[in-house]
Symmetry: C2
Subunit: 260 residues, 2 copies
């Protein structure tokens, strides 16, 4: 039987609110066994871009990564957010190590081909269960990877890659060696039957439920790529995927995404 691996993806308010972040880090520190954190940048990349006079351009919830924007996200995701998370986890006794996809060559991506929209320096991943010897080495030695949403193309170019996708990618890549639990920690406590009612969490989401909720409009916007990611992750080897908020990052009080 494979060993358990816990992957937590955080972003949005969890990163922007220091009190919420601290509670999440405390819970994460308390989880035993191999674990990985994947983080987005919250609003900090947009704020820093604005301070530098670079306006964030978004299409369908995805950032258009100009050369200037790539510089900003490299600074904010790879530097400011990542290194502070690592330092804070270290203070809680976790031997965290901050990584972009370039570090140890853990995640190579391909610059997104231009079709209708030119996303700029956005990196797309191909998914396949397989080896990730560097991450396995770290996990085996008690290091806790903290991964920022940057990848590289192997030719010297950094690329900006969605953090949800990175979390799924790592879950799949490590599913050959580990029994992977992936938790997406959101700003709300799971998939809501009524978007206005945080007490309407759906405990279990099947592909059938999902289609109905998309049709009814209960699931919309950024939740759609997130859930597409989740179902694809389960099909490609991740054992358990949960959506929850910061109050309980084990996911047990949130939504469990299930193929059946």
């Amino acid at each position: 039987m494979n060993k358990n691996l816990f992957i937590l993806k955080i972003g949005g308010r969890v990163i922007d609110d220091p009190n919420v972040l601290n509670q999440v880090l405390d819970q994460f520190a308390g989880i035993t066994g191999p674990k990985i954190m994947v983080h987005g940048g919250g609003d900090q990349a947009s704020q820093m871009g604005e301070q530098l006079g670079i306006t964030a351009k978004m299409v369908d919830g995805r950032r258009i990564t100009s050369e200037d924007t790539l510089q900003v996200v490299t600074m904010v995701y790879g530097g400011l957010v990542n290194k502070n998370l690592v330092a804070r986890l270290q203070s809680k006794g976790i031997n965290a190590i901050g990584l972009s996809g370039a570090d140890g060559n853990i995640i190579q991506a391909v610059k997104r081909p231009v079709k209708d929209i030119d996303y700029g320096f956005a990196g797309d991943l191909t998914e396949s269960p397989g080896d990730n010897l560097v991450l396995e080495l770290f996990l085996k030695h008690g290091l806790v990877p903290v991964c920022c949403p940057l990848t590289h193309d192997g030719k010297g170019q950094l690329l900006n890659t969605n953090a949800d996708t990175i979390a799924r990618h790592l879950g799949i890549a490590l599913s050959g060696k580990y029994s992977v639990t992936l938790v997406y920690c959101l700003d709300k406590p799971g998939v809501l039957l009524d978007p206005e009612d945080i007490n309407s969490v759906l405990p279990l989401l099947s592909p059938q439920n999902y289609q109905q909720l998309v049709s009814s409009g209960a699931v919309a916007g950024g939740m759609i790529p997130k859930l597409d990611n989740a179902f694809a992750g389960l099909r490609l080897g991740i054992k358990r995927i949960f959506l929850c908020d910061w109050r309980d990052i084990t996911g047990s009080s949130g939504t469990k995404v299930s193929l059946s």
Copy 2:
């Protein structure tokens, strides 16, 4: 006999000039065996600080690290410079991994005590030959650490630490297990007998020479802490220390610092 370890420190023009940087990275990629790169931030941290309206304050060649400045150096050293160096080394077939002192807890520091000057979030290191199990693990597995000049205090606080000092610190820490060569790659080809004449490189610098050159004024400014670092490093276990410029990073055409 201990295995060789090559540590290269780069900064200044080497980082700021893309052509020079590329030549240095090519040479570094060609060096066989375990190796580590340590980098400063060139002028990029000051430039970014200015863009953000934060003026760099320097005393005796050392930056005063206000909270704002710490944010800037965390972004620029830990993100922009470090991740781009890693991506470029990866493109040259080197399995580089970017690290601050917080990552893998490789370098803990103490916030510099306030005496006459408050240096802010500046981290001081204590030097002792000993273990650095995380770095040894990486080197053993063919990973090439690329270290930025950030450390942490173990209590969640990042600190800004001089890159020359970090290079020396790592050389000393690893001298128990490796025969360490440390090369400081400068903007000039070594210690010059005549500061105006780049052909006046002193091939060998002893503590006696050094005192004479300081007295005569030939060695001054930022070279003094650099050479103090070098002599201390040799006394504490580093086998060979060279100062050179980017044309030949092995140091053989530069200045060899020697205790005798």
